[in-house]
């Protein structure tokens, strides 16, 4: 099977600082890979490389076997890659449906005016489908809870992604119940045959969700393990570099 995303020998340095090096990973459709590592390990940098925010200093990126290079975030998006950013990238004063269609608003044929009705409808059916419970598609983002916002950001990514979704600490700011809800949501994306790369600092979450775990330490790729074949102690040892068996 061709991997959805294939990274080979990715390296990125900022001036003298090497944020990531020798990174290689294949990500398959319907697979969830967790990216773990301490603060500053290079996780966000890696996501930014895949999403077109940063160009890698060297290395190859391939999508469905075809080599690609993204000049900016829009270029990655047009290839079916969506990102759920740590800060969610939602416009707080705008209604849910406008956020769902941010930058890709639907218009009518007549004078190219916005088709708000259709955007509202599609948003409603999408949040219903994903069971994100919000008062309505017209609610203002500012009036929603953290979990609801996270749900909207993920629903938006789901709606537009045709290949790959990247999630940067999607539950960092959430309570227990809301975290559970978001995890359910992420798990359900597998059925859509999307490839998913998720950054998380919660190992419990990583073990609940992922098929494989990829460990980074100070920009080095320490290893990739099948979640079923490893345990927390091993992963912690890989993250910290300390073996305390």
């Amino acid at each position: 099977m061709t991997p959805t995303l294939s990274l080979k020998d990715i390296r990125k340095s900022f001036g003298g600082v090497t944020a990531i090096q020798n990174f290689s990973l294949d990500l398959f459709p319907g697979e969830i890979v967790a990216l773990v590592g301490d603060n500053g390990a290079g996780k966000s940098t890696l996501i930014k490389i895949v999403s077109g925010v940063h160009l890698p200093t060297s290395g190859d990126i391939a999508l469905d076997g075809e080599s690609v290079s993204f000049s900016d975030a829009s270029a990655a998006r047009s290839h079916g890659i969506e990102v759920v950013y740590q800060d969610l990238a939602l416009a707080d004063e705008q209604p849910v449906y406008m956020n769902m269609f941010l930058g890709r608003e639907l218009t009518r044929k007549l004078f190219g005016l916005l088709d708000k009705g259709k955007m509202r409808e599609e948003t409603q059916s999408l949040v219903d489908q994903l069971d994100v419970r919000i008062p309505s598609a017209s609610s203002t983002i500012r009036d929603l809870s953290g979990g609801q916002r996270q749900g909207i950001a993920i629903a938006r990514a789901t709606h537009w992604a045709s290949k790959l979704i990247l999630l940067d600490e999607p539950t960092a700011a959430l309570g227990v119940a809301e975290t559970e809800k978001v995890e359910e949501l992420v798990a359900s994306l597998k059925e859509r045959n999307l490839a998913i790369l998720i950054i998380s600092h919660s190992l419990d979450q990583v073990f609940r969700l992922s098929d494989r775990i990829c460990v980074l330490r100070r920009g080095e790729q320490i290893g990739v393990k099948k979640t079923a074949d490893t345990d927390k102690n091993e992963i912690i040892a890989m993250i910290t570099g300390v073996h305390n068996q």
Binding site: A73, Q94, G103
Partner: protein
């Protein structure tokens, strides 16, 4: 029982303050100035005519503020545009004057816009500087002299003319408000303006060309100020460097009172229209009340302060 309470709770104070303020001031003057002719259709029409330039500039400012920018230079643009139009029409045809007036406005707006959008200088400082710069330019254009506009067609279309009995300034106001409102609420450009002012980074990662939006809103401010300059020149049949000088406070107050957020992402064209009419009523009413100019200024300042304080209450919580 709970329904009315919920209705009151769900009332967006920021959005509704303008309706109450507008109605309150209208009723106040209608009662105490009844004998002075406040309610006559002639006086009411006059208010609309006098506020036309401010209303049109307010529309540009709604777009700028919604995108998270501000324009302080529009008053100076008015003068430069009016003078450019008047000078062009001294020897040239009307269309040349219109092109010169609008062109000057759009060009100055583009100048502001390029500095803000591509050099990332704060619009507050850029337009504060260009406000002074172009006030100076307006003064040097004619050596402080005023020039008259002798073109009757121009004076009709942009000033005292009528179409089917409706004064042209009223028609300009209606056209500007309708186009402004539809653009703001129902086009992709309007949505992008709001998104940029709300969360520029989110807009950018969503593929919205943020610098272009910033450039466009400042050009739009220049264009509306240019049109306002033409309307002043048309109504007065003359242009002078003092035109637009006193509009800065009025227009900003009209827009803020009309429910547009100072920090972007939220606003209303209809609110700005009502805000502008409210400022016009205030001017008109205070004059009819026989207040001296200095007292008018004080009262107007206090009322604007009050209205702005109420409109912004929500933001500071």
């Amino acid at each position: 029982m709970t329904k009315p309470i919920n209705a009151i709770k769900s009332l967006d104070l920021q959005r509704s303050v303008i309706y109450f303020g507008f109605l309150g001031i209208f009723l106040f003057f209608a009662v105490i100035l009844y004998d002075d002719g406040f309610l006559t259709s002639r006086n009411l029409t006059n208010i609309v005519l006098q506020t036309a330039p401010a209303t049109i500039m307010a529309i540009g400012l709604v777009f700028a503020l919604s995108a998270g920018e501000i324009d302080l230079s529009f008053g100076s643009i008015v003068a430069v545009s009016a003078l450019s139009a008047a000078m062009a029409m001294q020897s040239g045809p009307m269309m040349l004057g219109v092109a010169a007036g609008l062109g000057a406005g759009i060009l100055i707006g583009a100048f502001n816009g390029v500095l803000v959008a591509y050099l990332r200088l704060p619009s507050f400082l850029v337009t504060l500087a260009t406000m002074g710069l172009f006030a100076g330019v307006a003064r040097t254009m004619t050596d402080l002299r005023s020039i008259s506009v002798l073109n009757d067609t121009f004076a009709g279309i942009f000033g005292s003319g009528k179409l089917f009995g409706v004064p042209s300034l009223v028609i300009w106001t209606i056209i500007a408000v309708v186009i402004g409102h539809i653009t703001y609420r129902n086009t992709r450009f309007g949505a992008h303006v709001l998104a940029v002012g709300d969360n520029a980074r989110a807009a950018q990662v969503s593929g919205i060309k943020v610098p272009r939006v910033r450039l466009m809103v400042l050009m739009l401010c220049g264009a509306t100020a240019g049109l306002a300059g033409l309307l002043y020149a048309g109504r007065l049949q003359a242009a002078k460097y003092t035109l637009g000088e006193s509009d800065l406070m009025t227009v900003i107050a009209a827009v803020i009172v009309g429910g547009t957020a100072l920090n972007g992402g939220k606003g209303s064209i209809i609110g700005a229209l009502l805000g502008s009419l409210m400022m016009g009523m205030l001017n008109n009413g205070l004059i009819l009340m026989g207040l001296q100019v200095s007292d008018q200024m004080i009262v107007r300042g206090l009322i604007i302060l009050l209205a702005v304080a109420i409109s912004l209450r929500d933001v500071r919580r």
